[in-house]
């Protein structure tokens, strides 16, 4: 399941979709909206996507993960629209026979999603707003 939705993410559904009878491990990543960014209070975030391509790129990432690890089930759901701090922006779940590959595959999927899937995020602060442009793999503080 790859879902790009304006509706709140149903985490249990993501987990259930990824679960498989023969799996001994289900690994779940839940990304939530932080209340601060760039040392400023976040009022809300606005997400938008190039939806058809976002689904296609996510599918490529899943295919790559399935080639690297023996996935038994998986699901990705990403929220669009206006999100307030604490709300769930993304959920990724994978199930595998053993835990090690479920951790690795889940991390690969969420890390790849952040820089390869055409989803765009605007941070709205008390004194303005900006489209986030920092690369997620950079650990430098944002200006």
């Amino acid at each position: 399941m790859i879902k790009i939705t304006e509706q709140p993410i149903d985490i249990q559904k993501v987990i259930d979709t990824a679960s498989a009878p023969g799996a001994g491990a289900t690994n779940v990543f839940i990304g939530t909206v932080r209340d601060h960014a760039s040392d400023k209070k976040v009022m809300w975030l606005e997400y938008e996507s190039y939806e058809s391509m976002a689904v296609a790129e996510t599918r490529k990432i899943i295919d790559e993960a399935a080639a690297k690890w023996p996935l038994m089930g998986w699901a990705v759901s990403h929220r669009m629209g206006t999100l307030k701090p604490g709300e769930v922006a993304v959920a990724v779940a994978v199930s595998t026979k053993h835990r090690k590959e479920s951790f690795e595959a889940c991390q690969y999927i969420i890390d790849s999603l952040k820089y390869r899937v055409p989803i765009f995020k605007k941070e709205v602060f008390e004194d303005g707003a900006e489209w986030v442009s920092a690369k997620p793999d950079l650990t430098l503080p944002k200006n």
């Binding site: 990304g31 938008e48 996507s49 190039y50 058809s52 391509m53 976002a54 296609a56 990403h78 922006a89 993304v90 969420i110 999603l113 952040k114 820089y115 390869r116 899937v117 055409p118 989803i119 765009f120 995020k121 605007k122 489209w131 986030v132 442009s133 920092a134 690369k135 997620p136």
Partner: protein, 79 residues
């Protein structure tokens, strides 16, 4: 040729519409980027600007045709 550019995020705000008609004088993705940077210098200040052709990221040397689905992809920030 006339292209219709899909825009997202900061490119949508800079170009002022979700779909923008563009009279393209060049042939390739790289030439399109140069035209865009010339008309909208702020685009060149972005950390990255990629072009997707028919929903696949394109290299600068890829030729464009009037029937291609062309989209401007600013820095991505899923998650």
């Amino acid at each position: 040729m006339k292209l219709q550019l899909k825009t997202f995020g900061v490119t949508r705000e800079l170009l002022g519409g979700r779909v923008v008609d563009w009279q393209f004088e060049g042939k390739t993705v790289g030439e399109l980027k140069r035209e865009l940077f010339s008309r909208y210098p702020s685009l060149a200040d972005l950390q990255s600007l990629q072009v997707a052709v028919n929903q696949t990221f394109a290299e600068d040397n890829q030729p464009l045709t009037a029937t291609d689905e062309v989209a401007l992809i600013p820095p991505m920030n899923g998650g």
